[in-house]
Assembly symmetry: C2
Homo-oligomer: 261 residues x 2
C-alpha cells in the first residue's frame, strides 16, 4: 500500500444493509520546522516530501527569497522535524512570528489585512498563453494522477505544468501544504516557475493565491472557486486566475489575455 495511507475496517451501509469492509484513510502527520535552532512552526501534513514542504513554506512565507539562502536542511523523520539553517540571520523573525501568532486560529494561516495582501509582490510578466482545450487536458491529467485522492477522499492534489503536461505533482491533506510542496520541489530541483501553470483541486482562497504569487506562477487553475480577495490579488499581480474548470467549462476571473481561443 502507498505510504501515508492507513487501512482500517469500517462498516459500510449501501442501501442493502451493513457490511464490514476494508477502507483506506490518509494519515495526518505533525511536522515541526526548526529554523536556525528555533521552532518556527508545526504543520499538520500528509507524510510525503517533508523537506520540500519545509523549504516551500519558508519561501512562500517570504522568510527566504532563494534556495541559496539555505545553508543546510536535514530531515529527522522519526521525530517529525525538518531542521533548516540559513546562511544569514533572518531579519524581523520576531516581528514575523508575532504577526503570525495572531493569524493562527481556524488557521487559514497568513492574514495581512486586505489592503496589504499583494504588497511587495512582483507583477507577472509572462507571455505564456493557453487554450481552454489545453486546460481541459491538464485537468484530466491531474485527475488521473491523483489516485490517492480518489482512494481516500481526504487529499488535495496540485501540479505545476507547461501547456502540455505535468512537470511537478504533489498531494497533501492541506490545500496550503500542497502548494508549498510544489514550490519547494521547484526550488530544490531548479525548476523555473515563471512560465508555468498551477492546476489544483482545492478552493482558491487568498493564501493560496498569495503563495502562488510569491512563487511567480502566472496561471492558476482550479475546479473550485475563488474568493473576492483572491480575485483582487490576482488582478494586482496580473495573474491569470481560472475557477470552476470542469470539463470544457471555466470562469476566467483575471488575466484573460493569457487565454487563447
Amino acid at each position: 500500500m502507498k505510504r501515508g495511507l492507513r487501512k482500517l475496517r469500517v462498516k459500510r451501509f449501501s442501501g442493502k444493509g451493513m457490511e464490514s469492509v476494508e477502507d483506506v484513510v490518509a494519515k495526518e502527520f505533525p511536522l515541526t520546522i526548526v529554523l536556525n535552532d528555533e521552532v518556527l512552526v508545526n504543520l499538520v501534513c500528509f507524510p510525503s516530501e517533508r523537506k520540500q514542504l519545509a523549504i516551500g513554506y519558508l519561501f512562500t512565507e517570504r522568510l527566504i527569497s532563494k534556495i541559496d539562502d539555505i545553508k543546510e536542511a536535514q530531515e529527522d523523520n522519526k521525530r517529525g522535524i525538518v531542521w533548516v539553517r540559513t546562511k544569514h540571520k533572518i531579519k524581523n523573525l520576531n516581528e514575523i512570528n508575532k504577526r503570525r501568532t495572531i493569524t493562527t486560529g481556524c488557521g487559514k494561516g497568513v492574514t495581512f489585512q486586505s489592503g496589504d495582501k499583494g504588497e511587495g509582490l512582483n507583477k507577472m510578466r509572462s507571455d505564456l498563453r493557453i487554450s481552454p482545450e489545453e486546460i481541459q487536458k491538464l485537468n484530466r491529467q491531474l485527475k488521473t494522477r491523483s489516485e490517492l485522492y480518489r482512494e481516500t477522499g481526504c487529499v488535495h492534489s496540485a501540479a505545476l505544468c507547461d501547456r502540455n503536461k505535468i512537470i511537478v505533482y504533489s498531494e497533501d491533506i492541506g490545500r496550503h501544504n500542497v502548494i508549498d510542496k510544489i514550490i519547494g520541489k521547484c526550488l530544490l530541483e531548479g525548476i523555473e516557475t515563471s512560465d508555468s501553470i498551477l492546476i489544483m483541486s482545492g478552493r482558491l482562497s487568498s493564501e493560496i493565491i498569495l503563495k502562488a504569487a510569491v512563487g511567480g506562477i502566472p496561471i492558476v487553475i482550479s475546479r473550485a472557486a475563488p474568493t473576492d480577495i483572491s480575485v483582487k490579488i490576482a488582478k494586482e499581480v496580473d495573474m491569470t486566475l481560472i475557477g470552476f474548470a470542469r470539463g470544457h467549462r471555466m470562469n476566467i476571473y483575471s488575466g484573460e489575455r493569457r487565454i487563447v481561443e
Copy 2:
C-alpha cells in the same frame, strides 16, 4: 443579494466561446478576537455571525468552558473586531499562545501531538440512535439549505440537527469556522448539544473532530472523508463518525452502536 457575497464580471468559457457574465464570489473577512484587552487571534472568515464565531472559537479551543465564563462580548463590525472579557483571568494563556504559535502555518490550527489529541475530553454518553434513512434525509436538508455554497462554490456549510431536522445552521469559507459558529450559537442560545447530530460538507480532519468532541456532539456526519487521527479520536471519545455519506451510502468509522437499521 445575500450579505457576504460580491458580484463581479467574469469571462465564462463554455465550449462555445467566451462570454462576459456576472458571477458571485464569497467575501473573505479578517476578524480579530480581542480577549481581555489582548489580541488573541485573527481569523479569516465569511462575514456572518462573527460574535458566534468568536465565542465558539474560545470554547472549542478550551479557553472558556461555559457561556457563563464570559462577562461581555461586543462586536465592532467596522473594524472587524470582537472584544471578549471573561469573568476570571484565563490561566495559562501565555502557555496556550506559545503552543499555538508553533501550530500556525498552513494553518490547520490546533496541533497537540497525536498522543494527546483526545486528552481531557469526556466520553460521549449519548444513547441517541439514527437510521441511514434519517441520515440521508438530513443530508438532503443540508444541501437544500446551503444555497450560498451552490452560488459561490467557496463556502462550507454545517448543521446541528436532531433526528428529523436542522436546528442550527451555519456557513463559512473555513471548515473550522463553520463548526465554531455552530457551537457559538448553541452556547449563546442555550441549545443542548449532548444528544445532537452534526452534519457538514467538509473533510473530517482531526481539528474538526476535536472541536466537535469539545462541543459534546455524539454523532458527526460528512459527505467527505476522515483521516486516521480523526478516527482515532472519535473512537477514544466514543463518537459516532460517518464519512462518505452520499445518497443512501455511508461509511461508519466509529461508534456504530448509534446506527439502527
